[in-house]
Amino acid sequence: MKRALVLLVACTPESAPAWRLDQDRVIAVRAEPPHIAAGAIARFDALLAHADGPTTVEPPAFASSESPTLFDIVHFNIDHWEVVAPDEQRLAVERATLGLAIDAPVPLEVTLELSSGLLAKKIVWLGDSRENPIAPVVALADPLPLARDIPLSVAADGTVRWFTSCGTLRDAEAATATLRIDEPCTGEIAVVVRDGLGGVAWQVIPARAE
């Protein structure tokens, strides 16, 4: 909203659109699984985009929580960071503190530091069980045709975000997007789906257009 107000009397130069994949940033963070019952364990990984190379999937270099009562359940274990859900008694105390229903999952916000210095936040839900959605399946021709609209589509319950480092995208936040590549290129196309309950999945597909 504020952006709109500023633009009304002023203008800013164009910047790279959000669907451009070749920029240093976090694309998505996954807790595996996103909901864990008492005593269960969740681990993290993140999909990272890079200005000078293909995407990577990396575990966090550091993880922590600012929760005053649950910060201690975020651990480093041998070679990775994880969250170990507390027992039911402790979860009941948390639910009472947060004013949640007796069987509601307890949100724990975890801040992750990734190897390139990028920061991300992810909520792990404690006290119930739920898996991430199934990774979306996208099949693309190889090579992709030039100067033609290429439909990209996934079936997903929740939100969808498309990214590309090759060509331009239209409707990048819809289940069906349109890719157009006008010049030969080699890169990647990525799609991230979120189920709205903390679950996330992605697929990265190499793309080549001639």
Binding site: K2, R3, V6, L7, T12, A120
Partner: protein, 635 residues
């Protein structure tokens, strides 16, 4: 003993009682002979930036180092939240529908509260027998059409109920935004400037020599289901020595904004106000002359109906992301409640000598009176001294205490824990006629602010802030036909402390230097104007990093701990305006103008926006060579 108020002036006095701000327009403002103002877009509120104490900001007008919410906005003498449809953009005020805007940067009398400076408007009064005005205005991306009809009965007639009517004036004006018709394909810009309908009306009837009845209404309706409406009715009785009035007004404000599936602001605010006033004029009393004593009261009863799920709103000292986090509902409430405010005031003014006039008064505000909520009583003494040093030189000293109660949306949610903000102002103004046709005005001021409502690090609002603002302003106006020139400049500083132990930092809209020069030339049917603006850039808080919120797919900026520690570079621009009168006689007028903003496409950086992930800083520029074109006709 000589009667100071001549009988024929009683009508003027009555009108002044009913609409104090209209009467002040003549007294407090510079002569209204100024030409059309280049760069104002024909918007009376944006044109106020010609005053050296007014800074135009993305959140509204900042006056003398105060936040936009420190400015009291009045329609027909009653408060409205804002006169701007969207802060920083075009206002709901038009030349065609309103009397000249009254701006008081150096405080005001005890008749008004809840602010430290004042911008007041009133619907325009019909003075012609039967006439109409039409105006079309376009800026390329947004267009407006305005029309007005007025009737001023010059012949007395007899009313069935109240007897002889000596004057009857009526005027109604309508304004409509035609954005979507003008540029249906422009997408984002279209949605930023929604279609709207404004209606302003006034009827004023004078019965005999003593009675005046006045009804007015101002409404602004956006087609996205937000509106503001302020109808007012008043009755006044006046003789040479006494005058009394009572005014009733209602304010309706509806705001509805939705963003994504979660964020929404749904606000209904309805205020009922009653304002009785009594004024006694005595030609001579205990050695004093022209003694005027006034007493008044006002009650405001407001019902709020709030349904909110939104991140914390941007406020001074609390920088916010340019787009809200779709998952952040830090400000969440669904509630309805009433609030009652009561104000009492009294003031006396008198000539202490042939060249000195003094006024002193006190205002007592009871915020939250008559309710089970917290009540705060504030006593605010104010006074002024006008001293005519020579026939061409006048000195004015004024000082006073002012209070602003918690009334912003985020403040309403924690009303019981907040106190009114306190401000004490001191102003010295010297007006001098340098030469025939050349006037100079110099002001210096000091403003102390305490108990400012700040959002602290833990996200809680507290009265922990303090600050000071001080500065010098100068204005030089020269008139020699066919030329008009005006130069205004200010040197100012405004600082804040977020809490008693915090370091001093600049105010969000601190602008240490401003220079505004206007020159206009009129000949026959042509009037040409140019305006140069040079000003310090505004402070901003640097962004030092980003945290990606994966669940909401949102990049959250991390602001530096050093709030407003950076400043945008010096800003400069030139605006040009050409007016041409095709027809200008007693029966009809037809004129057109082009108001060319930023005529030399200055690339001064006004501030900064950021890439969606805050990975790149993008300068914000004034729109280059941005024209407003208007046609105005009267029959």
């Amino acid at each position: 003993m000589r009667a100071v108020v001549a009988p024929q002036r009683s009508h003027v006095l009555m009108r002044a009682v009913v609409a104090l701000f209209v009467a002040r327009a003549a007294a407090a403002q510079p002569a209204t002979d100024s030409p059309p103002i280049p760069g104002g877009g024909d918007d009376p509120i944006r044109e106020l930036t010609l005053d050296p104490g007014v800074v135009d900001t993305p959140r509204g007008l900042s006056i003398r180092g105060g936040a936009p919410i420190d400015t009291l906005s009045l329609i027909d003498g009653f408060r409205v939240p804002s006169l701007e449809r969207i802060p920083g953009a075009r206002s709901i005020v038009t030349h065609i529908g309103f009397e000249p805007v009254v701006l008081q940067t150096n405080g005001f009398g005890v008749e008004f509260g809840s602010g430290t400076s004042l911008v007041a408007v009133a619907p325009r009064r019909g003075t012609r027998d039967l006439a109409g005005d039409v105006e079309l205005l376009t800026s390329g991306y947004a267009s407006e059409a305005m029309g007005a009809v007025e009737s001023g009965a010059s012949q007395p007639y007899t009313s069935y109920l109240f007897g002889p009517v000596t004057a009857d004036h009526a005027r109604i004006s309508v304004r409509s935004g035609l954005t979507e018709l003008a540029l249906p394909s422009i997408g984002a810009l279209e949605s930023m400037h929604p279609a709207f309908l404004d209606v302003h009306g006034l009827r004023e009837i004078q019965y005999g020599k003593h009675w005046l009845v006045r009804g007015s209404a101002v409404g602004s309706f956006d087609l996205d289901h937000s509106w503001i409406a302020r109808p007012t009715f008043s009755l006044a009785y006046a003789t040479d020595r006494w005058s009394a009035s009572i005014a009733l007004s209602q304010l309706s404000v509806r705001t509805k904004i939705e963003s994504g599936s979660e964020l929404h602001l749904d606000i209904d605010e309805t205020t009922w106000s009653v304002r009785p006033e009594l004024k006694r004029t005595v030609p001579e009393l205990a050695g004093l002359t022209n003694v005027v004593w006034q007493i008044g009261a006002q009650t405001d009863s407001t019902e709020y109906d709030l349904d909110i799920a939104w991140p914390f709103l941007p406020r001074e000292g609390w920088p916010q992301a340019t787009t809200p986090n779709p998952g952040d509902t830090s400000m969440r409430a669904k509630t309805s409640f009433w609030r009652h405010d009561l104000a009492l005031w009294s003031a006396i003014a008198a000539n202490l000598g042939p060249a000195i006039r003094a006024q002193i008064g006190v205002r007592i505000d009871g915020f939250g009176a008559f309710a089970d909520r917290a009540t705060y009583t504030s006593t605010q003494p104010r006074g002024s001294l006008d001293w005519r040093l020579r026939s061409d030189t006048q000195l004015r000293l004024s000082a006073g205490a002012y209070r602003r109660p918690p009334e912003q949306l985020d403040e309403l949610l924690v009303l019981d824990t907040l106190h009114p903000e306190r401000t004490t102002q001191l102003d010295i103004t010297l007006a001098h006629r340098v030469h025939d046709g050349i006037d100079a005005l110099v002001s210096t001021y000091y403003i102390d602010r305490s108990r400012l409502i700040m959002r602290e690090r833990d996200g809680v609002l507290r009265n922990s802030g303090s600050g000071t603002s001080y500065g010098v302003e100068g204005t030089l106006i020269a008139r020699r036909e066919p030329w008009y020139a005006r130069v205004a400049t200010s040197l100012a500083r405004s600082v804040r402390r977020d809490n008693p132990r915090a370091a001093e930092r600049p105010f969000e809209f601190d602008q240490p230097f401003r220079l505004d020069a206007l020159v206009s030339w009129k000949h026959d049917k042509w009037q040409l104007g140019a305006r140069l603006r040079i000003a310090s850039g505004l402070p901003y808080t640097p962004i030092v990093g980003t945290v990606y919120d994966s669940d909401n797919d949102y990049y959250e900026p991390l602001f530096s701990d050093r709030i407003y520690s950076e400043r945008a570079p010096l800003q400069h621009r030139v605006d040009l305006r050409v007016d041409y009168a095709f027809v200008d006689d007693k029966r009809a007028t037809l004129a057109a103008f082009i108001d060319l903003h930023n005529a030399y496409a200055s690339r001064s950086e006004l501030g900064y926006d950021y890439r969606f992930d805050y990975g790149e800083r993008l300068p914000i520029y004034a729109l280059p060579i941005f024209p407003f074109v208007g046609v105005r006709g009267t029959i």
